[in-house]
Symmetry: C2
Subunit: 354 residues, 2 copies
């Protein structure tokens, strides 16, 4: 592959795993024939950004520029691009490429690419030879096949979190066919959970939100939950034994999975989207006696991400956000660690230009 | 309900949790209008018999007469019985009744009866007011709806284990649609596992048997496995990463479930039919990154048990058995604890008459 011409762009990133995020400059390729160049307007702040910046999952290459909930305006397109033109509003999520030829890619499940998806940040970048840089930056250049269209009626800043928190909850709710007549649990009311409540409710299910915080009850009901269960209260939990068709578990801290498995009906499924570090001890009896399933789900493919955005446009769904300026990002990380955000920070990227 | 007339029958059971099984006499009801009375010819020996006799799961009522892999000859039928007549060969499995009206019963999944299935032994018996007594006995009386027909071409003694070990493996392989073009793992080559190998192979899958015992390789291949993996060898295990459509796990001892979860393809399912006492620690990452499912399955409904027996008749499938006399049962339990049986003990119930 011919080396593309490079341009520099402002960004915000970490130089080491212990340094705060700060202004920096990174290189981007000028668009190749299939690329779209996007001026980033808003970027959501995901817990994965923090994990990667601090090398908590291992493998972080520095400088690290995170951000995979990106909404912006197309400024340039490559000569072969057909789906976008300058001026269009566009979005980029957790992936910027994949092998495109394995069974998963051919089925539109690029997140499960057997050669490994190319994530929006900290993945090998075949153009630069380094790693990919994410959305805490002025511009990004992405193959048009991994760029999404954004419905025009939505508030752009509140669209950004749909690109990760949105698709991560939408995809399993669709995959396990959540809908009318079903009782569906959402565990945890954070960035993921609050989108889970909105989607499960929009799909017509009876939605029960599980939280350890009684203070979140009112908000959960406002977001679309029909009931709220304080999960620390065993009596409240027991009232729901054997009654759920599906439970979406968005908790990434260690927790007792059997307390939720036993709430599933026969043939019910509990799907993890949060990823606790320690293995979750599942009781064989809890699985066997009701033929229950314990599963996991990872973001969603590009086609499904577009479907999700279109669904959000039709139903007026966006994330509940708290807007910050880029120089508030380190403080935002500390607040995120305390779950002190309703329910997603979004960076106004205009603040990077100053 | 009018108390039915009672008759006595010879049996073999335990009087306390620490006493060996010995000859005893129990009472059976004479057939009510919908009942079938069966003279028991053969009864398979299941690990559950041992667990219950020794009260290892709690709740055992003594005297305890186990046995739920029953084949025999119909000797009497109630006035309203239409499916059986004296002289017919018939079988009884793990259940003798259920509520018949809950959603699970109406779907033919009586094993998941929401009021609790009535198991063949140690369940509340609405007729006697005591508990049900199983197949280590001369006769049994069961509602015709819970009595199975036996294909005439099969060796009767070797049919008995189909009633538990057979349906326990057949049902999940059918439920998760195992068939041609699929790679299927069976974990453990015991009473359950050897039937899993036979069925998965008969369904056309490529079957891989996992065992800790290299000595079982030849037998596994004879039974229908296409490959054998010694699960203690990490290098052998690694060769199969991400490659299985379905894994049936028949191990009831504690074991590392992640070593098997990571062998599943995207969207693959691992189903437990053995029930280790300790929770099985499943890594969230193993579930999330390939959207894998970790499930459980419990025997099968009456209609599916009949389907399984008919399938066995058509394909000449029975269990590999070792026949014993009733007075060898205590020794057989000790051998079963050492997995020293190929692959199921079956009691020749003629030995009880002497």
């Amino acid at each position: 592959m011919k080396d593309p011409v490079i341009f520099t762009t402002k960004a915000f990133g970490a130089q080491t795993k212990s340094s705060p995020l700060a202004a920096t400059t990174i290189e981007r390729r000028t668009p190749t024939p299939h690329d779209v160049q996007i001026e980033i307007l808003y970027c959501g702040v995901c817990h994965s950004d923090l994990h990667t910046v601090r090398d908590e999952w291992g493998g972080t290459v520095y400088p690290c520029v995170p951000g995979h909930e990106i909404v912006g305006r197309v400024t340039k397109v490559g000569s072969d691009v057909t789906k976008f033109k300058p001026g269009d509003i566009a979005a980029v999520g957790c992936m910027v490429d994949s092998c495109r030829s394995c069974p998963s890619c051919r089925e539109g499940l690029e997140q499960f690419c057997e050669a490994g998806m190319i994530q929006t940040y900290n993945s090998p970048d075949k153009y630069s030879g380094g790693v990919t840089y994410g959305g805490y930056s002025e511009n990004i250049v992405v193959s048009e096949d991994f760029v999404l269209r954004v419905p025009e009626n939505l508030e752009l800043a509140a669209v950004a979190p749909l690109l990760c928190a949105g698709i991560t909850t939408y995809s399993p709710l669709r995959h396990w066919k959540v809908g009318k007549g079903q009782k569906v649990g959402i565990v945890g009311l954070g960035g993921l959970g609050h989108m889970g409540v909105k989607f499960a409710s929009a799909f017509g299910a009876h939605v029960v939100l599980f939280t350890t915080s009684p203070g979140k009850t009112k908000d959960a009901l406002r977001l679309g939950a029909h009931e709220v269960v304080i999960s620390k209260n065993p009596d409240e939990m027991k009232k729901h034994l054997n009654s759920f068709d599906f439970i979406l578990d968005a908790v990434s801290a260690d927790h007792d999975i059997n307390a939720y498995l036993e709430l599933l009906k026969r043939d019910g499924t509990l799907t993890l989207i949060g990823a606790p570090q320690k293995p979750l001890g599942a009781s064989a009896f809890n699985l066997i006696f009701k033929r229950r399933q314990f599963a996991g789900s990872l973001i969603g493919g590009i086609a499904e991400t577009q479907e999700m955005l279109d669904f959000c446009g039709q139903h007026g769904i966006t994330s509940d956000i708290e807007m910050i300026k880029i120089d508030q990002i380190n403080e935002a990380y500390e607040r995120m660690l305390k779950s002190d955000v309703k329910y997603r920070f979004v960076i106004d990227m205009a603040s990077l230009k100053k």
